[in-house]
């Protein structure tokens, strides 16, 4: 069990290391460097020299990579291309805002998704399942900016219930984002509910068809006792992994939603820094998002192992 843990941990660390190499060499391979990108047409002569000096771009790539990686491990992500602000500071506030958005969506979406997933799974092919499953396909497949636009049209323009755009500045305390945050939360909740619902549904169907559920039924165990005591603990286990993927997606992939609602999170900062060609910031955000992705998936795997007695004994026996 412990060996399994350590092995997973090691593989996760290897993946993050590979990501950092990909990010660094990817940016290296692009034509130009942080300074030519930042200075654009003025990138010549003294100005370029000074910038390269400030960013330390005159040193060999391997040396710079080691510096960068070592700094990142200690939480120091360097300075932005104009050399003035610490990236850790810049990113910190945005990461906080993204976490707020993610936390609200998760708090709303996960219980809802699991409840609806169980309902659709238990009443498979009944009207309620067909309705909800079809709605889930719609919510999942329609591009986020489309569903966001439709919801703004509906709730903000036509009904006037919720503000359709976030005007709160990036550094404002969390409480000030209400009620502006509600519409983006609603869109994100819709998408993630659809994904988790489908997963839970198929898992419930699979478990309810299992031998031990049939055995319990034949034994005369009441239906709801079967569902809650026998089936659900097993059926909900795979949900851990989907929720993990959702968290990773919420913290790195909701760029479009943040742009649509003007939400000052990590995603919009990513777009802005790419448009401004602020490569050190792009590198930093990429590394953070990738680390979150690996970390969250790793935690989900470990959590599944702890929660599932079968996996536990399996690994112990093998050892």
């Amino acid at each position: 069990m412990l060996r399994m843990f350590l092995r997973r941990l090691f593989l996760g660390a290897v993946t993050v290391a590979i990501v950092s190499i990909i990010i660094f060499s990817g940016v290296e391979m692009l034509p130009g460097d942080a300074c030519t990108a930042f200075l654009e047409r003025e990138a010549k002569g003294k100005l370029l020299e000074n910038c390269r000096e400030a960013q330390g771009l005159n040193r060999p790539a391997v040396e710079r990579y080691i510096d960068w990686a070592a700094g990142a491990v200690q939480g120091n992500l360097g300075v932005s291309a104009n050399g003035q602000k610490s990236i850790s500071e810049l990113v910190g506030a945005r990461l906080g805002n993204s976490l707020l958005l993610a936390a609200c969506s998760l708090a709303l979406g996960v219980p809802l998704a699991i409840f609806l997933g169980v309902v659709t799974g238990l009443w498979r092919d009944k009207p309620i399942d067909l309705t909800l499953s079809t709605m889930a396909i719609f919510a999942m497949t329609i591009p986020e900016f489309v569903s966001a636009t439709v919801l703004i049209l509906l709730f903000s323009v036509w009904l006037g219930w919720l503000p359709g755009i976030v005007l709160t500045p990036a550094h404002a305390p969390a409480a000030e984002f209400f009620p502006e945050i509600l519409l983006p939360v609603l869109v994100l909740t819709m998408v993630m509910t659809a994904h988790i619902l489908r997963m839970v549904r198929s898992s419930v169907i699979e478990v309810m068809a299992g031998d031990y559920v049939q055995m319990a039924t034949l034994k005369g165990v009441p239906y709801w006792r079967i569902v809650f005591r026998h089936a659900l603990p097993n059926a909900l286990l795979p949900a851990i992994n989907v929720v993990a993927l959702t968290i990773a997606w919420l913290l790195g992939g909701v760029v479009v939603i943040e742009v649509v609602f003007n939400y000052p999170g990590l995603g919009r900062m990513m777009i802005d820094s790419i448009s401004d060609r602020d490569l050190p910031v792009v590198q930093a955000i990429a590394l953070i998002v990738a680390t979150v992705y690996v970390g969250v998936n790793l935690s989900a795997d470990l959590l599944t192992m702890i929660a599932n007695p079968r996996l536990r004994t399996l690994h112990m026996r093998r050892k």
């Binding site: 593989l11 497949t141 591009p143 900016f145 489309v146 489908r198 790419i274």
Partner: protein, 295 residues
Amino acid sequence: MSVASVPNENTRLARFLSVLRDVMARPSGAVGLTLVMAHLLLAIISPLIVPYDYKAMNSAMMLTGPEAAHWLGTDHLGRDVFTRVLLGGREALLVTGIATPIAVTWGGFVGIFFGLVGGRIDEVMMRVVDAFLSLPWILKMLVLIVTFGTGIEVLIPTLAFFYGIPVIRIARAATHDVVARDFVSAARARGHRRITIIRRELLPNVLDTLMVEGAMRWSWMLLAFSSLSFLGFGVSPPTPDWGLMIADARGFMSFAPWGVLGPVIALSSLIIGINLTADALAKALGIDRAQKAPV
């Protein structure tokens, strides 16, 4: 039991027809395939049937509502929205239509190859794939697009490259299911070269998975493409594109919602159509997609 040799043309055609019939027999497949076919047909013939020139501006008729002359009204430059909705999918279908087969082909071959080879190199390769997948798609693509420009000649290879990477994983997993079977061992014992084993033993067995994967990749690619257009990194104006049209019309949504609704319905129906088709195809081929999480 399984198809170990390459089937000849006739059985291939027969299988294709039977799968097609199975897909059409399912409600999701019938609706989905009809939507997709209608979109493809419209994309081909729309330049011949549009009522107006998509570039023609008319300052006297800006943001007018739906009427007999302009079924979906006009946009902020006085261009006919219906015309632009009809034409708005061509660029997206062209780019993704070329990029999807490339992505599935290269990802499929690499995945099958490493699935067959196995061992340490396979292990390392999978870590690299994981590393690529842990980066948000939009970041990877935007960095290339901002550096090299937004033309088709940049978008197609970029999409084809990045959307091939998850295919590696799928193809490898599907290969692992096959590679331990007797007919592969037999082919190895006969001394066939790797390329022969891949072509004659593995590919026919992995092809079904790749087909379904291709359909899913196509819809994700369309999503990515229209999102890029929406953000201003895809199609450049005045070429009509749904993502771009929605972005443009969003500002006038409060008093001219028709500008948004047309492209919204067009884009959604195409992507839903592809997804429904993929769903029915997966069921018809007996591949369960429900367990797979989104990437």
